[in-house]
Point group: C2
Chain length 348, copies 2
DNA sequence: GTGAAAGCGCTAACAT
DNA sequence: ATGTTAGCGCTTTCAC
């Protein structure tokens, strides 16, 4: 590969001048010289040796990205959002998947620091982050879609309260007053956030909540089924069920149908996350979609800002999701949103 | 961060000796000295400066991974397989997603070469690879799950012929003689491979194929629906339909049901790919699963071999998939494989 | 078995 | 506006 020295030799100037031009320095160079150098660089296909540059500047144009679970339905989209911004700014990402169980953060972070990464992104991480900053060699970092309890001003997270309130308000607007809730695994930060928003929204609307309207599952279809069965046995039968995710909602759907009831006629159901399952079930499930790509972009932009200016202000950034109205809530606008009809309609 | 110099100073030896120990060189160093150095390195948390090492050795411990579509159902699993092997061998990966439309391979490859990547992995790439080797600066490379027509000895690909024959033979074993076929988009390499295997297997079994038993779709549910409608109008009604992927199979399923027929009683259906849809439909769809994680691992191991020994032999490696028997084929062992029953059974 | 020193390609401080 | 040069941390050749 071509080096500065070669370009300098061909262009008949010193390597310092070539460096000034090709490293986008703001050091003054005469237009003619600049152009000549640019031409030679183009001709020989010059590409800077990042190792040499990195050794000198202690910056690598590399960003470490650490995630819990690469194969989750969220991670790939978030990563694409991150890369979309970062690649356009000349950065490469070192993406590493570390299953939560075998997490030994130190090792990976240490290795990444050996590669002189300029900053870190943590995606969907759950791990305790006490003293993170020192471990990270005081490099900038940002957390996207944080799943653990500890608050961190460097986080970009879904606005769980807003999103959860979104579905509850949607049901209220449809006239429901007796709304039950299936919560997710209590280990998750998002689980309590979503539940709290349901409680708050119901109270703000002035509707009482029966104790046996609330069941706690573990995010799975199976537990959604079991929770819905318990709710159906409540003293006062609810007219709608809000589930903390689409798996739970789908399980609830099956349980309600198996109980000989109809969705949404007898019981309305709404989910959360816009999982594939919610668009393929029968009836299709009304849910909330998270703007994952956007979250990745925002995270990357946040990081770039940190990289450019020494001290910026930090505060958790909450990104709102969007309601997707389908059949399971009974709203008129979702009535026809089911896969087979969509298929038929567009197949003529 | 600690440097060789510091470790050498503390240990009271020269940096050369420290380097010999800490870079796993096979140069002889006395056991006592070695141990002393190792201890100091541990104490100060030494981590080699990869930029300096890379500058010197022209090797970076970085592998460039280029893919078409990060968010495909295959890519993340393949990548995890790749990383599983590579990380254990001390490599980091530079993963870059380049949508096919805006592919300008040269730029990314060029940038990666600037980072001195030791080798390349192409995942699900479609792009022409003529003269790839020179462009890659003669560095090792491997292609996983290749989607284009040109053959390349550096490929790790699913054994499409074997897999496709797997489902056809499965139907033959169940007694089907009149088997129709819905092919995928003809632009894809895998499409013709799968179709050919169907044709070959049927002929080898001695069964004639009617011209109107074969329809060509574009991988989508919608086109599966349309293709099945055409097949149902054939002069001789088939007893089974093989679809080139699960989307087509699901579309066919809907069409058969809409025609007032039953699956698998009247028409058996099988898919390919083990997409989520095939485990969630009703009936669930018999299909073939691709060993994606394994493919990634094999690809990475192949690459490591190239990195270690100068000349190794190359030949396309075909990785066989596995048949997943569910309800849509009518086989007894798949009879009970449906989501709701599974749910009930395990819910007690 | 160990140490001294050259040099990888680049940037930046300093000189002109 | 341009050139000269030191030195980033490491590996490796050569000397002892």
């Amino acid at each position: 590969m071509a080096t500065l020295k070669e370009v300098a030799h061909i262009a008949g100037v010193s390597i310092a001048t070539v460096s000034r031009v090709l490293s986008n320095s703001d050091y003054p160079v005469s237009p003619q010289t600049r152009e000549a150098i640019l031409k030679v660089a183009e001709d020989v296909g010059y590409s800077p040796n990042r190792a040499a540059r990195s050794l000198r500047t202690e910056r690598s144009s590399l960003i470490g990205v650490i995630l819990d679970n690469f194969s989750s339905q969220w991670a790939p989209i978030i990563i694409r959002g991150i890369q979309d911004v970062l690649h356009n700014s000349g950065y490469f990402t070192l993406v590493v998947n570390i299953p939560w169980e075998k997490y030994s953060q130190t090792d990976v972070v240490q290795d990444m620091l050996g590669h002189s990464v300029d900053a870190f992104v943590f995606v969907e991480t759950w791990h305790p982050v006490s003293e993170r900053r020192e471990m990270l060699n005081n490099r900038p970092y940002v957390i996207v879609h944080r799943l653990f309890h500890q608050s961190d001003p460097h986080s970009i997270i879904p606005d769980e309260a807003h999103n959860s309130a979104l579905v509850v308000k949607h049901l209220l607007k449809l006239g429901h007053k007796k709304i039950a809730y299936i919560a997710g695994d209590s280990d998750y930060f998002s689980s309590s956030q979503r539940l709290d928003a349901y409680l708050y929204t119901m109270r703000a609307a002035g509707f009482a909540i029966q104790a046996d309207w609330i069941a706690r599952g573990d995010w799975s279809i199976r537990s959604g089924y079991a929770c819905a069965q318990r709710i159906l046995a409540a003293d006062i039968m609810p007219s709608a069920i809000v589930a903390a995710n689409d798996g739970l909602a789908y399980g609830a759907l099956l349980a309600v149908i198996d109980a000989g009831l109809s969705v949404p006629a007898d019981i309305a159901i709404v989910g959360y996350d816009n999982n594939d399952i919610s668009s393929m079930s029968n009836p299709t499930i009304t849910t909330v979609t998270l703007p994952l790509f956007l979250m990745g972009q925002v995270a990357a932009e946040n990081l770039l800002r940190q990289l450019q200016t020494d001290d910026c202000e930090f505060a958790e950034q909450l990104i709102p999701g969007q309601l997707i109205v389908r059949q399971s809530c009974g709203a008129p606008e979702g009535k026809d949103v089911y896969a087979r009809d969509y298929l038929r309609a567009t197949m003529e």
